[in-house]
Symmetry: C2
DNA sequence: GATTTTCTTGTTGTGCACAACATCACGACT
DNA sequence: AGTCGTGATGTTGTGCACAACAAGAAAATC
């Protein structure tokens, strides 16, 4: 749902400015958040309000609105007289976020699980096939995109709206830092291949669990994978700095 | 920490406007959030940006910044051409938030618990005595304030910063709706007295657990009380509409 | 030569005027 | 009498000019 204009960097992609204020706001917000998550704006990058204003064809004012929201969610930090900077997260704090995500992942299967209908099952199957294509032709950006779509699909399995909202925010936070950290490791290509394979297995496992209809199990599988994913990243990072 | 100027409605209370932009922002933000939680601005209330601007001695622009953040956190909703309205929450969604809070309460005792030092223990003792004073002289607003301080103290028992942040937001959301719903019930005075007594017991139990040093138990007690508190509210509300 | 000071440049923050929008009252028309 | 339209009013949204601020360069001073 959040990723419309897929090229994501093509200014022409914006389909006319005759939408309501709220729609424009949502559009700019989702676009920027996706860019941050996909590392189009990596941690440390400085965003200029005026540039963004020009790109989206508005003045600085509505842009600032979006930036304030992104700052409230921890993606940005505006400093008077300096700039608006994409936040970075140390490994210690990242671990805290992961700890929390692990618990929330299980809650998605326990709090108000929704029976997946046929369209959802179809979406899972399609995701699995995209995943299989990825195994044959590894690509970091495509991996990130599938991972993101997969998350949103999983997240829609709980009827607990606050839980969805919070999980989403934490997902974006951890994923971008995960991507950034992984991409700086020396044996990046190799690690990426492994991760894609593991991710493929996770998707396959979860699709099975969804088909059986046991969302509790989905939560447990997901929990295990999130936890292990962070462990692997931490181990690799430790090994690299020695 | 969030509640400075206690009168909370006295415009003169703001101690000079020579602070930095960020400090001003935080001040206005915390002030408004506290007012929302204490029902100075009840759900449905319409806030006028110009009034707030005048009260805090600034223009509409910095006010809007605060309002955007409060909207992102679900306390407000701005509608073009209509106004900025304090959100209300239906009992169904409130239940979802409570479900989540119940789980998070337990996590506070499990994720990175911090050993309470002497100053924290003292703070707990002081809170307990304030609580005892309240039993003798029931007062809804003072009850809300103590409850809020108690929450912040408990919340400081985990080192997991994202968890703290999220728990805080959900606390403010549920507490204000709880207060609103309770205050509309017919036997409000009686219910309030009961709640104060029960809350007093909860504080006493938790102070004991803190002194023993078992934060896991703190989480469990807290979990139980949050859950029961909502159950009581729901039962009372159901009884009232019959 | 080193250090302090001042100036220049670039950025976000603020204030204000106006546009866009929703709502309601009032009146014209059927 | 009812219904639609039209305008008045009040609100948030936008654009723009300028203030406040930070950082680095340049210059003045010792």
């Amino acid at each position: 749902m959040p990723d419309e204009d897929l090229p994501a960097f093509d200014p022409k992609a914006r389909t006319g400015g005759d939408r309501s204020a709220r729609q424009r706001f949502e559009h700019i917000y989702h676009t920027l958040r996706t860019r941050i998550c996909l590392l189009d704006y990596p941690p440390g990058e400085r965003l200029r309000e005026e540039d963004l204003a020009e790109e989206f064809g508005v003045s600085r004012t509505p842009i600032r609105r979006v930036l304030v929201k992104l700052e409230a969610e921890g993606f940005l930090r505006s400093v008077h007289g300096v700039g608006t900077i994409v936040t970075d997260i140390e490994i210690e704090e990242l671990e805290q976020v992961y700890q929390l995500r692990v618990e929330l992942a299980e809650l998605i299967g326990r709090l108000m699980p929704v029976e997946p209908d046929n369209s959802k099952r179809a979406a899972f199957r399609e995701l699995l096939s995209r995943c299989e294509g990825l195994v044959g032709k590894p690509d970091a950006r495509e991996f990130a995109r599938i991972n993101m779509d997969f998350f949103h699909l999983l997240n829609s399995l709980t009827g607990n709206e606050p839980l969805r909202e919070i999980s989403e925010r934490l997902y974006y936070q951890t994923t971008r830092i995960w991507l950034k950290t992984a991409s700086r490791l020396s044996q990046y290509e190799e690690i990426l291949m492994d991760e894609i394979r593991i991710f493929h297995r996770e998707v396959a496992d979860i699709v099975d669990a969804v088909n059986v209809g046991d969302l509790r199990v989905v939560g447990l599988i997901r929990r295990a994978h999130i936890s292990m994913s962070f462990q692997r990243l931490r181990n690799e990072a430790r090994r690299a700095y020695r």
